[in-house]
């Protein structure tokens, strides 16, 4: 039986949420940045060894302050993907407190933390920011496709469990 699950991508503007969704759903990428206003909703079926899940993906507009995200967008969410841009400190310097906020407000909703644009940073940059990147589950690149499918599959597994 196919079940439908709503997931929401969270994070600052310009971190690559839309690019990750586009890479996952359409397997395409564009370097041109177009700001997302409001929400785009897309759907993709994920096949796990024992389940088939219809992921309804809410790609919402970026926000510097997670507490200011429109609460209606998050209603009935089954999972979150928190995305930040590994090249821009402002997008991950409050990562720990943002995750704490999610835990407090949506206690039972699983979260996958993603550092995107990993193709643009050097090893020394990763080392320098090791402390910030501690909660990260995956480093991804929507441009190269690195880890993109894994992120969505991993969250689906967490939701189903």
């Amino acid at each position: 039986m196919i079940t439908s699950k709503k997931i929401v991508l969270l994070g600052h503007f310009g971190v690559g949420k839309t690019s990750l969704v586009r890479r996952f759903v359409e397997d395409s990428f564009s370097d041109n940045y177009k700001v997302t206003i409001g929400v785009h909703i897309l759907k993709k079926e994920v096949t796990l060894p024992e389940n088939q899940v219809n992921l309804i993906i809410w790609d919402i507009e970026g926000n510097e302050d997670i507490t200011k995200t429109r609460s209606s967008y998050l209603l009935g969410s089954h999972g979150f993907i928190y995305v930040f841009d590994t090249t821009r400190k402002t997008t991950y310097e409050n990562l720990a407190s943002d995750l704490e906020h999610l835990k407090t407000t949506y206690n039972n909703v699983p979260v996958v933390v993603v550092g995107n644009k990993s193709d643009l940073v050097t090893r020394s940059h990763m080392k320098e920011n090791k402390a910030y990147f501690k909660p990260v589950d995956y480093f991804s690149s929507a441009k190269t496709g690195a880890n993109v499918d894994t992120i969505f599959e991993e969250l689906t597994k967490k939701i189903i469990l």
């Binding site: 700001v35 909703i41 897309l42 507009e61 821009r88």
Partner: protein
């Protein structure tokens, strides 16, 4: 205005849809989207599929702003009732939201751009730091073979050679010296760039420095049929408190450059006192030549690293000399400038802000006459050399064995050095700063504090390739008495040994 109102009434932008609790479409006016043809609202768009579970049979309302449905951007309202079917209203606000999009796009792009610029700047700094470390390490590594060539040439010079062979050996020595100067220039520049360059302040005889400069360059200029003339302001203080070596380096670089680029005519060095206040003196230096000159468009490049205005093979060099001069002048709180006319000559002017002692007695000075050091063969000294480089080991061995006054033990790393010092009491330790397992700075205090403290007072002389940021303080802190920079010559090593074994 009237048209716009009319348009709103004539072309309404709101769609009404009535659904069952399970999402079955019961009625739709299809003003915006053709939903009536579908059976279930969940099949119309994934948005409806995800909100359907939230719609319970009670008096409630859910509002969602700015939702992209197809090509439109809408606000969607879902009203549920206790005893009636749910009602969904969709308001098309595309025009309004599209105008917001333009504003947000501009704002975000500007913010992202500035953050990316900051990151790129960090990467550039990282690259620069890597370059500097590379240069420092490279220069260090090149010193070991250079020490070898230097020392073996000196040894070769002492063997029975024909006149022709002797001349060839002299050429090799001279080339080694040139190479050594280049390495020193590169290292100086690295030190300046990382802010580790220290200007020493010691009282020295300024007039003596000027006399020796005059003597050296009058002779050198004469070899090229040029005239070197020095014009010294009589009001200049005799003694100066500053870095004699570096002031000499500045003068040497600028005058050598003038001689290099002048084929006939004169080189004039004017040294004048700009002003003197309390114990501070502002001294002006001006070096004028009648050489080939510099084109106007290239005049600013002469103080830039690795840039040579005259790329002709006739004028070889690294292009670092004047860059170092500029940096040294800046470190001494001075300014430097250049004026030139192609074919007529160049003038380099700079000033240095220096201190001078108000009451200084010459009697305190010691004449430094460098005598050739020879050891007495009757007394033997135990020396430990801690050095992993085979060539350096052979050089020290050869130099010491030529004196017949030394027993030499060699340790190739820190562990071996600890073992040797436990077994033997040494009169002096020669310690390479870079060892495979430990640095000289770490090893020196360890040697002093172990083996029943046999070597608490044994002189330790550091042998170092780079001396990058290795100030006297750092050596002293590690318990190192003195340092000898590679490549060293036989007499330099013997003089150091003599000084500490006396």
């Amino acid at each position: 205005m009237l048209e716009s109102y009319k348009e709103q009434f004539l072309y309404p932008k709101v769609q009404f849809i009535v659904i069952s609790g399970e999402g079955k479409i019961l009625a739709s006016d299809d003003i915006l989207f053709p939903f009536a043809e579908k059976e279930n609202i969940a099949d119309c768009h994934p948005f409806f599929e995800s909100i359907l579970p939230l719609m319970e049979p009670k008096e409630d309302a859910l509002s969602f702003s700015c939702v992209h449905i197809g090509e439109k951007i809408c606000d969607i309202n879902c009203r549920t009732f206790k005893d009636k079917h749910p009602l969904i209203t969709i308001h098309d606000l595309s025009e309004h939201y599209e105008s917001l999009q333009t504003v947000a796009q501009k704002r975000n792009e500007t913010l992202i751009e500035s953050e990316i610029l900051t990151l790129q700047n960090t990467y550039l700094k990282e690259k620069e730091a890597f370059k500097r470390t590379f240069i420092a390490n490279f220069s260090h590594e090149i010193r070991n073979p250079l020490t070898g060539v230097f020392s073996f040439t000196e040894m070769l010079e002492k063997t029975s050679l024909s006149d022709e062979q002797f001349d060839l050996v002299e050429v090799i020595k001279s080339l080694c010296q040139d190479l050594n100067i280049m390495i020193n220039d590169i290292l100086d520049l690295s030190k300046i760039e990382v802010g580790k360059f220290v200007v020493n302040n010691e009282i020295f005889d300024f007039s003596e420095l000027l006399h020796s400069t005059e003597f050296i360059y009058t002779t050198k200029a004469r070899q090229k049929n040029l005239n070197f003339r020095m014009h010294v302001d009589k009001k200049l203080p005799k003694y100066i408190e500053g870095d004699k070596t570096r002031i000499k380096q500045i003068l040497t670089n600028v005058i050598e450059n003038a001689i290099k680029f002048t084929e006939k005519g004169d080189i004039d060095l004017h040294i004048t006192l700009n002003h003197k206040r309390a114990n501070k003196a502002n001294i002006q230096f001006r070096i004028t030549d009648t050489g080939i000159g510099i084109p106007k468009e290239a005049i600013h490049d002469i103080f830039t690293s690795f840039s040579q205005v005259h790329k002709d093979n006739k004028y070889p060099g690294t292009g670092l000399g004047l860059t170092i001069v500029k940096n040294l002048v800046t470190l001494m709180q001075g300014d430097i400038s250049a004026e030139s006319e192609p074919g007529r000559g160049t003038t380099i002017s700079f000033n240095l802000k220096l201190r001078f002692p108000l009451h200084y007695k010459e009697t305190a000075r010691k004449e430094k006459v460098e005598k050739k050091v020879l050891f007495n063969t009757k007394k033997k000294y135990n020396i430990l050399l801690v050095e992993d480089n085979k060539i350096s080991q052979i050089i020290v061995l050869k130099i010491l064995s030529s004196q017949g006054s030394f027993f030499l033990d060699i340790a190739e790393n820190g562990t071996q050095a600890m073992e040797r010092t436990e077994e033997t009491r040494y009169d002096l330790i020669l310690l390479d700063i870079r060892l495979p397992d430990v640095t000289g700075y770490e090893l020196a205090p360890a040697l002093r504090n172990h083996a029943e403290k046999k070597h608490t007072k044994t002189p330790i002389i550091a042998l170092s390739g780079s001396m990058l940021g290795d100030g006297k303080q750092k050596y002293r802190k590690a318990g190192i008495n003195d340092a000898l920079q590679k490549p060293f010559q036989e007499q330099q090593l013997l003089q150091k040994l003599h000084k500490h074994l006396k």
